[in-house]
């Protein structure tokens, strides 16, 4: 058998077949292994290709999203900016987003060959469910329709593609926020200076109370013939106020609205705050010591040229009701008539006073009151005088006939007037009658147009601000006598003091409402309205007790500068609770004075959400900021903020920029350093020398109109184009080196409380060499204005001028007070999450 086995002929064949089989199996195994390597490598390559394709796709979608989110007409912007009521399921944005194909991206789909085409699918956009509304500090209350409008969260973009039978998905999330482009509440103010009162403070001592005369750095504008007294220039500031000026004239700061002649919408003309409104205890009355006294600019009707239509006269600000012009007379022995005498209303009505040299008449506004009908009548003349050179000449100690004491009494006469430190200073100093010619350096109500009785720019003034003027009462009959201020003088005690027109016949003066049977102090209160006095707050020299000097107690001696336009012109003090901007935001009492710190300063308290939570981009290098917003573009300068931006370091924009509407996107720039600004014009060359205050048709008015007119889009400065520059940190400075700033809000509000005598300039104009008129369309918000230096800076630009009114142009753009403030959508640069997945492509 063994022999037979070994005799078989097919052995080698079997061995060979076996060997070959093994080799084939090994070959197959090796081949598979190689294929596996190749497949892995191919998969890796495909994934890499798809990843970069999807990243390019995401980049393109982001480009379109960034373009659409800040286009107010686009559905995507409207969807993101609408109120966020419920984000628990996220917010789908696909219906609002319009995707446009890109040639570059489409080319990328075929770049690897027709057999390796990438198929792109539509993108998916949504806001994740972590989107939440931004809150406000406790003292700022948004209206119901504006809660949940500002928000932040994550924008999620999902892009898909198919490549070689596999589907790849890339999902990214970017943080985003929706914020207002302007600061709530503050945007409605044209001038907000929460420590303005400090500029009427007595710097030379620790005395509590308002500074007067030489310490008054607000009422420093010498007035003559209704305009700035240029003949004396700045020497008066050096002489009277000890302010070194190097012989420059000063020019006033006149706050205008774009509507030169009347303005129905006072809420859109820019409010004014000259603070403070509360002290640390939250009480209003105790801050009376920090009140501001605004000397009304005076004019006497016969002064000034006949063809002058505009002046700085403030006399129209005196409310007519304050003097209650209806009076009665009673000659108890001979009065047979019950007719009331004719009286004239105050304001624009001329009253003549024999106050001039050698008995010459001087005219003023006031009331002529005839006291009797049917008989030879006595006349009471009540005249109101603003502060002007004419008054100081005629009423001061230099007058040859009348002295101030003849009308206002001396220091021994009148308990209340004694405590008026302004009056006291006039009496005390030999030259202090000069102070009668100085009116306020700021004119918040614009200009006065002769013959037009409507108030000029209607504007609300917040804070304890009172208007100051002189009331002189003169009894004219046979030479006349001044009726001296005497708070104790009652009508039934006139005998022996008041003049008579025939012997033994006493002329009584019965103001409206007076009755003989009313209490004496009430009689005195009524009569006191018509006495000669300085209409101002009473500032004590000694023994100040705040409860005795509250404005409510001496209403006939305090007339607030602010006007309640809804109540037929009644003058009232306004505090935060009366601040009602058009957009519906409200502010809690006491918050005007803390708003700057609470809103702009970073806080360690996580519950506080202020501007810090609204920052969209931050730059540690100001040059990178300038590159990013387009300021450094050589061919076309741009300034696109689109939200809130933080810049660390001093920011120098002194090169200036001319911005067409398409080159500018409004927002807030927080500068953690000093800021220097050059011109900011809006797409057209402006010849500042052509600006003049003349009439409604003056070149100035034409510009103001077209900057505010939506129907001229090439020149219209909309609310979404307003640029807000904020200096944060202590002792920061904003220096303006350009004469034209259009559509700008400057905020410098986070300085520490002022030290005594510390007059550092938070905002200043440095235009000595430029010598071109200032045109400022915007708003100024700061702790301290340091008005003296500002007016000197304005004076340095032009020294003499034949213009009707020589003053820079400060205009408030009404768009800033819009009821629907513009929003900006900020999408951050840094990605929050990145997720790339792949799977088998669906069939």
């Amino acid at each position: 058998m063994l022999y037979k086995f070994f005799n078989k002929k097919g052995n080698i064949t079997v061995v060979l077949i076996g060997l070959i089989s093994v080799m084939i199996l090994m070959t197959i195994a090796l081949s598979k292994r190689m294929t596996g390597h190749t497949q892995l490598l191919t998969l890796g390559d495909y994934t890499q290709i798809s990843r970069y394709f999807l990243e390019s796709y995401i980049s393109q979608v982001m480009q379109q999203v960034r373009k659409q989110v800040n286009d107010p007409q686009s559905p995507l912007s409207k969807k993101i900016c609408e109120r966020l009521d419920d984000a628990s399921e996220g917010v789908d944005l696909n219906d609002s987003f319009t995707y446009e194909k890109s040639d570059s991206l489409e080319y990328l789909t075929t770049i690897y060959g027709n057999n390796n085409k990438i198929t792109r699918k539509d993108p998916i956009l949504r806001l994740t469910r972590k989107t939440k509304p931004l809150k406000y500090p406790e003292g700022i209350m948004p209206p119901p329709d504006k809660t949940n409008v500002e928000k932040r969260g994550y924008l999620e973009i999902t892009c898909k593609c198919e490549f070689n039978k596999r589907e790849y998905t890339l999902t990214v999330q970017y943080p985003f926020s929706v914020v207002y482009r302007m600061t709530p509440i503050l945007k409605d103010f044209m001038l907000f200076v929460d420590n303005m009162w400090y500029e009427q403070k007595a710097y030379s001592s620790d005395a509590v109370g308002v500074g007067w005369a030489a310490d008054d750095r607000i009422n420093i504008l010498g007035i003559e013939k209704g305009k700035v007294n240029k003949t004396e220039k700045a020497k008066t500031l050096e002489k009277d106020f000890s302010i070194p000026t190097s012989n420059y004239a000063i020019r006033p700061m006149v706050l205008l609205s774009p509507y030169q002649t009347g303005n129905e919408d006072y809420k859109s003309s820019g409010m004014v705050y000259w603070g403070p409104t509360t002290n640390k205890n939250g009480s209003h009355d105790d801050t009376f010591e920090k009140s501001i006294f605004y000397n009304l600019s005076g004019i006497t009707p016969d002064s000034g040229a006949d063809n002058d239509t505009i002046d700085l006269n403030d006399m129209y600000l005196i409310p007519k009701y304050a003097f209650d012009p209806e009076v009665e007379s009673d000659d108890s022995e001979n009065n047979t008539s019950n007719d009331k005498p004719e009286v004239s209303e105050i304001s624009d009505n001329e009253v003549t006073f024999p106050l001039g040299y050698n008995g010459a008449n001087i005219k003023a506004y006031g009331i002529n009151v005839e006291l009797e009908t049917g008989h030879q009548a006595g006349m009471i003349k009540v005249g109101v005088f603003g502060f002007c050179k004419e008054i100081s000449s005629f009423l001061g100690k230099t007058s040859d006939k009348w002295k101030i004491e003849d009308f206002l009494g001396d220091n021994n006469n009148g308990n209340d007037l004694l405590k008026d430190t302004f009056w006291g200073k006039i009496c005390d100093d030999n030259d202090s009658d000069e102070y009668l010619k100085y009116a306020s350096g700021i004119k918040p109500f614009g200009l006065h147009y002769k013959g037009v009785t409507d108030l000029r720019t209607q504007r609300q003034i917040f804070g304890n601000v009172f208007e100051r003027f002189l009331v002189l009462t003169f009894w004219e009959f046979e030479g006349g006598e001044a009726l001296v201020y005497n708070p104790d003088l009652a009508i039934n005690e006139i005998q022996g003091i008041a003049p008579t027109y025939i012997p033994d016949r006493i002329m009584k003066f019965w103001p409206k409402g007076y009755r003989e049977d009313m209490p004496r102090d009430k009689q005195v209160e009524i009569y006191r309205k018509y006495m000669s006095k300085i209409m101002s707050g009473l500032k004590p020299k000694d023994n100040y007790k705040s409860e005795e000097y509250s404005p409510g107690k001496f209403q006939d001696l305090f007339i607030p500068l602010n006007i309640n336009y809804e109540l037929t012109g009644k003058h009232e003090i306004y505090y935060e609770d009366k601040c009602k901007p058009n957009d519906g935001f409200e502010i809690k009492k006491g918050w005007f004075d803390t708003f700057g710190k609470k809103w702009f300063e970073p806080s360690n308290d996580k519950k506080i959400e202020n501007i810090e939570q609204r920052i969209g981009r931050a730059y540690t290098d100001p040059e990178k900021f300038k590159n990013a917003v387009g300021f450094n573009n050589k061919d076309k300068k741009q300034f696109k903020i689109n939200g809130v931006v933080y810049v660390k370091g001093d920011l120098d924009l002194s090169e200036g920029m001319d911005l067409k509407p398409e080159d500018c996107s409004g927002g807030i720039v927080l500068v953690d350093g000093d800021l220097t600004l050059g011109n900011i014009t809006r797409g057209e060359q402006i010849n500042a020398s052509k600006f003049e205050y003349i009439s409604q048709s003056s070149p100035a008015t034409e510009y103001f109109t077209k900057w505010n007119d939506e129907n001229t889009p090439e020149t219209y400065i909309g609310s979404d184009k307003i640029l807000t520059f904020v200096c944060i940190g202590n002792n920061r400075k904003i220096t303006i080196k350009g004469n034209i700033l259009l559509g700008v809000q400057l905020i410098n509000l986070t300085s520490n409380a002022p030290d005594k005598g510390n007059h550092y300039d938070q905002i200043s104009w440095n235009l000595d060499s430029k010598k071109e008129e200032i045109i400022f369309l915007g708003s100024i918000i700061c702790n301290r204005l340091n008005l003296v230096n500002r007016l000197i800076e304005f004076g340095k630009i032009t020294d003499s001028s034949d213009k009707t009114i020589d003053a820079p142009f400060f205009v408030y753009p009404p768009v800033m007070a819009s009821g629907t403030p513009p929003l900006a959508v900020q999408i951050m640069e840094n990605m929050r999450s990145y997720q790339l997945t792949s799977g088998v492509a669906p069939e």
């Binding site: 060997l19 970069y52 393109q60």
Partner: protein, 166 residues
């Protein structure tokens, strides 16, 4: 007389060896191919990683920075310094920073003949820049014609970066 078959003859042995050799030849060839393939896979992966890092470096720049690179000649050996155009950190510098001689030598040896080429083209209408990154390596490390494109294999990736379009 009968022959007794107790061993293989020489010729049978020779034939068997020849057949075995013929059979094993493909296996050896395949094994060699596989080794080469594995080598290429490694190189390819290294090239892919390099390309990805170059691409990420370029894409992470601002659009304005990328615009400065459009049209410029950006190519060279990965171990060479390139400070003129892209300021990309070269591998040589990375290797030297490791302060490990062995690792340094490995990197130098591994990336010796790797080259890169970057091209940027701008589509200003769309405000988009197309980026192409190519990393190539020698197929045969022993080849002396290192710049001959036929002796090189490359990996190319493309991407597009979009700037903010006003």
């Amino acid at each position: 007389m009968r022959l007794s078959r107790k061993a293989f003859s020489m010729i049978e042995l020779m034939v068997g060896i020849c057949i075995f050799a013929l059979a094993i030849l493909p296996l050896v060839w395949m094994s060699s191919k596989q080794t080469t393939g594995a080598y290429h896979v490694g190189k390819h992966m290294m090239a892919g990683q390099l390309a990805a890092s170059y691409m990420d470096n370029i894409l992470n720049r601002d659009y304005e920075e990328m615009q400065k690179l459009v049209g410029k000649k950006i190519e060279g050996y990965v171990l060479d310094k390139d400070r003129n155009v892209t300021n990309l950190m070269d591998l040589k510098e990375i290797a030297e920073s490791l302060q490990n001689e062995k690792a340094n030598n490995n990197i130098q040896a591994s990336f010796k003949n790797f080259k890169y080429r970057i091209e940027l083209k701008e589509n200003s209408d769309e405000k988009a820049i197309s980026v192409m990154v190519e990393v190539s390596y020698l197929v045969n490390e022993q080849s002396k014609r290192v710049d001959d494109t036929k002796k090189r294999a490359s990996l190319i990736i493309h991407a597009v970066k979009y700037g903010e379009n006003d």
